[in-house]
C-alpha cells in the first residue's frame, strides 16, 4: 500500500497544504516547530484514527478552525486506488468517507491504511507505566486484525459501566447491586478473557521477532536471546470470573475494578534483568526500536506488504552505527523520515520536501 497524495485542511499548523508522494524514501526536512511531525501525524491518523502523540482529536484541529480535513489517495498492491477523506471535529463526531461513500462507523477504516511510527517518545515503551505497553500490544492487535478493535472497545465500555455501578453502590454491597454486578461481571469475564487470549497470542507471535530485531540492531551474535517479554497476568491462570468474585468486596469498597485486563503489563527484560529498572539508556532505546520493528515485520509478513514507515526524528538520536543498522533491517516500502538537520548518509532519500511554517515545498 502506497500513499500517493495527501491534502490537509486546518490540520494543526496547516491551513491548506498538499503533497504528492512516491514509493521509496522521502525526507521531510525543516527547522524546529515548522510542521514535520504534524504532517506524519496526519498520515498515521488514517491508520489508527488517533494521534500517535496520544493527544485528543481536538489538539489536531487548527486553532480557530472548527474542523480539520485529511484527504489521501492510496494505491493497494493490486493497483486499486482509494480516496479517503477524514473530517475531525471538536465535538468528536468524526466522519470518514471512502471513495466519497460515508462509512457507517469511522472505525471501519481500520486496516485500509497501515503505518508504523517511530518517534523519540518510544522510549516510554520501556520506561513508563504498564498502560503504555498494554496500548502497544492492543495497537499491534488492531493493526494486524482490525476486528479486534471491537473487542478492545467492548472491554473498555464494560469496565466503564462496571465502575459506574461500583461508585453507585456507595461502598455497600446490597442484594440488588450484587445481582446487577453478577451480569456485568459475566460480561467482563467473557470479553476480558477473549482479550487476554488474543494478547497472549500476539505476544507469542511478537517475541521471536523482537528477539531477532534486538540482536540485529545491537549487532549481537545471531544465536543470542537477550530479550525477555512476559505477559502473564495472574487473573489468566485463575480465571477472570473467579478473580472478579474474589475481589468483589474490595471493588465495592474502592468503587473501581481492581482486577482485569485493564491492569495488565508486559514485563520486558534484557539478559534476565528488568529493562525498566536495569537496562542502560542505549539498551532501552534499542529495545523500543526492536518492539516497533517487530510489529512492522509481523504485519509485513501477515499482510503481504509493508506498512508505510514513518521515522519521526529518530535517526538524530541514534549513533551512526545504529541508524545504519535500523535502515538496513527494514522491509522497505514507502518511508518518510523527518529531520531538522541533514540526514545521515545511510538514509539516502529518493525525494525531499521542505517544511516551513505549515507550507510544503517539494523539490
Amino acid at each position: 500500500m502506497i500513499i500517493q497524495h495527501l491534502e490537509l485542511t486546518d490540520f494543526r499548523n496547516y491551513v491548506s497544504a498538499q503533497i504528492t508522494l512516491t514509493d521509496g524514501v522521502t525526507a521531510v526536512i525543516g527547522d524546529n516547530g515548522q510542521g514535520k511531525t504534524n504532517l506524519v501525524e496526519a498520515l498515521s491518523y488514517l491508520a489508527t484514527l488517533k494521534s500517535f502523540r496520544g493527544v485528543p482529536t481536538e489538539a489536531m484541529i487548527r486553532t480557530g478552525a472548527d474542523t480539520a480535513v485529511i484527504r489521501a489517495t492510496i494505491t493497494h498492491v493490486d493497483g486499486r486506488e482509494v480516496l479517503i477523506e477524514a473530517e475531525l471535529t471538536r465535538t468528536g463526531r468524526n466522519k470518514v468517507l471512502v471513495n466519497k461513500q460515508k462509512l457507517a462507523k469511522s472505525r471501519d477504516l481500520l486496516g485500509v491504511v497501515r503505518t508504523t511510527v517511530f518517534s523519540p517518545q518510544d522510549l516510554n515503551l520501556v520506561q513508563d507505566a504498564p498502560s503504555v505497553r498494554r496500548n502497544f500490544l492492543d495497537d499491534a492487535l488492531v493493526a494486524l486484525w482490525p476486528k479486534h478493535d471491537a473487542l478492545c472497545s467492548e472491554v473498555e465500555r464494560v469496565l466503564k459501566q462496571r465502575n459506574a455501578l461500583l461508585k453507585q453502590s456507595g461502598g455497600r454491597l446490597s442484594p440488588d447491586i450484587a445481582t446487577t454486578l453478577d451480569v456485568w461481571d459475566e460480561k467482563l469475564a467473557t470479553h476480558g478473557t477473549q482479550l487476554g487470549d488474543v494478547r497472549a497470542q500476539m505476544l507469542e507471535m511478537l517475541l521471536p521477532q523482537v528477539q531477532e530485531a534486538y540482536v540485529e540492531l545491537a549487532e549481537l551474535n545471531e544465536d543470542q536471546t537477550p530479550v525477555g517479554m512476559v505477559y502473564a497476568p495472574e487473573w489468566r491462570t485463575q480465571g477472570l470470573a473467579r478473580c472478579l468474585s474474589e475481589c468483589r468486596n474490595d471493588d465495592v469498597r474502592r468503587g473501581s475494578s481492581t482486577v482485569g485486563p485493564h491492569r495488565d503489563d508486559i514485563e520486558l527484560s534484557i539478559n534476565g534483568l528488568p529493562a525498566r529498572t536495569h537496562a542502560s539508556q542505549g539498551e532501552q532505546r534499542t529495545l523500543a526500536l526492536a518492539l516497533r520493528l517487530a510489529v512492522h515485520r509481523l504485519i509485513t509478513t501477515e499482510i503481504g506488504s509493508p506498512p508505510v514507515l514513518i521515522l519521526d526524528d529518530v535517526l538524530s538520536e541514534l549513533d551512526p552505527h545504529r541508524s545504519a543498522a535500523l535502515l538496513r533491517h527494514f522491509p522497505l516500502g514507502q518511508v518518510l523520515i523527518t529531520s531538522a538537520g541533514v540526514l545521515p548518509k545511510t538514509a539516502h532519500p529518493d525525494f525531499s520536501v521542505h517544511i516551513a511554517g505549515g507550507t510544503i515545498r517539494e523539490d
Binding site: 465535538t91 463526531r93 457507517a104 462507523k105 471491537a150 472497545s153 467492548e154 465500555r157 464494560v158 466503564k160 459501566q161 462496571r162 459506574a164 455501578l165 453507585q168 440488588d176 445481582t179 446487577t180 453478577d182 451480569v183 456485568w184 459475566e186 460480561k187
Partner: protein, 202 residues
C-alpha cells in the same frame, strides 16, 4: 464563546441541540430553516409536537406508545399471547412489526441497563414484565434488546431472572451488526435474526 445570536434564536438552537442525533451544526441549520419558513408551517409543527405530547402515552400494559390506555397490539386478540418479545424502546416494536415475522406480543422496557446514565433494573419496566408473565400464559420470552454492551447485559439479567420460572428464554440471533441498534437494521436482516433466535443460558 460569546453568542452571535439574539437570545430567542440562541434558546432555539440550544433546545434543538439537545435532541438525540442533532449536533450543534444541525441545530443551527434547523433553526435557520424554521425562521425562514412560513409561520403557518411552523405553527403546524409546534402544534403537532404539543398534541402528540398530550395525546400519545405509554400503553398501561406493554409500555409501547399508544393513543389510549391500551395499545393496538395489546388490544388485538389475534396476536399470540404465548410469545412475548422484550425490547428497549417503542421504535424497536415498529422495526420488528415491519419485518412481518412476529405475531406475538411485546413488552417495552423503556431503556437498557446503563449505570453510566444511572439506569439499573429498577428504572426499567421489569417488575411490570414479571407481573404479565404470571397472568398471560406466556411460554416463550424473546429478548430483543439491542446487540450492544448495554442491550446484551440487560438480556443476560433478564435471562437469569426468568429462567427459574420454567419459560423458554431466547435471544435474538446476531447477524445484526454488533454494537448496533435494532432500529437501523434492515427488515430482512432483522427478520432473519428473529428466526434464528437462540436459547439463553440463565
Amino acid at each position: 464563546m460569546n453568542s452571535a445570536y439574539t437570545p430567542p434564536m440562541q434558546a432555539l438552537i440550544d433546545a434543538l441541540g439537545r435532541l438525540p442525533g442533532v449536533g450543534p451544526k444541525g441545530a443551527q441549520r434547523i433553526a435557520f430553516h424554521l425562521l425562514k419558513s412560513d409561520s403557518v408551517d411552523v405553527e403546524r409543527l409546534a402544534h403537532s409536537i404539543t398534541e402528540a405530547k398530550a395525546l400519545v402515552r405509554f400503553c398501561d400494559h406493554c409500555f409501547n406508545f399508544s393513543d389510549g390506555p391500551i395499545c393496538r397490539i395489546c388490544d388485538d386478540d389475534r396476536r399470540d399471547s404465548s410469545m412475548l418479545c422484550v425490547v428497549e424502546e417503542s421504535r424497536d416494536v415498529i422495526a420488528i412489526e415491519k419485518t412481518g415475522e412476529f405475531r406475538g406480543r411485546y413488552h417495552v422496557l423503556l431503556g437498557a441497563m446503563n449505570p453510566l446514565e444511572g439506569i439499573g433494573p429498577e428504572q426499567l419496566k421489569i417488575r411490570e414484565l414479571l407481573a404479565r408473565l404470571d397472568t398471560e400464559g406466556v411460554k416463550e420470552v424473546i429478548l430483543c434488546t439491542n446487540p450492544n454492551t448495554e442491550g446484551d447485559v440487560t438480556a443476560m439479567y433478564l435471562a437469569r431472572l426468568l429462567k427459574p420460572l420454567g419459560l423458554r428464554i431466547t435471544r435474538i440471533a446476531s447477524g445484526l451488526p454488533v454494537g448496533g441498534d435494532l432500529e437501523y437494521a434492515d427488515e430482512l436482516t432483522l427478520g432473519r435474526a428473529l428466526e434464528g433466535r437462540r436459547e439463553m443460558p440463565g
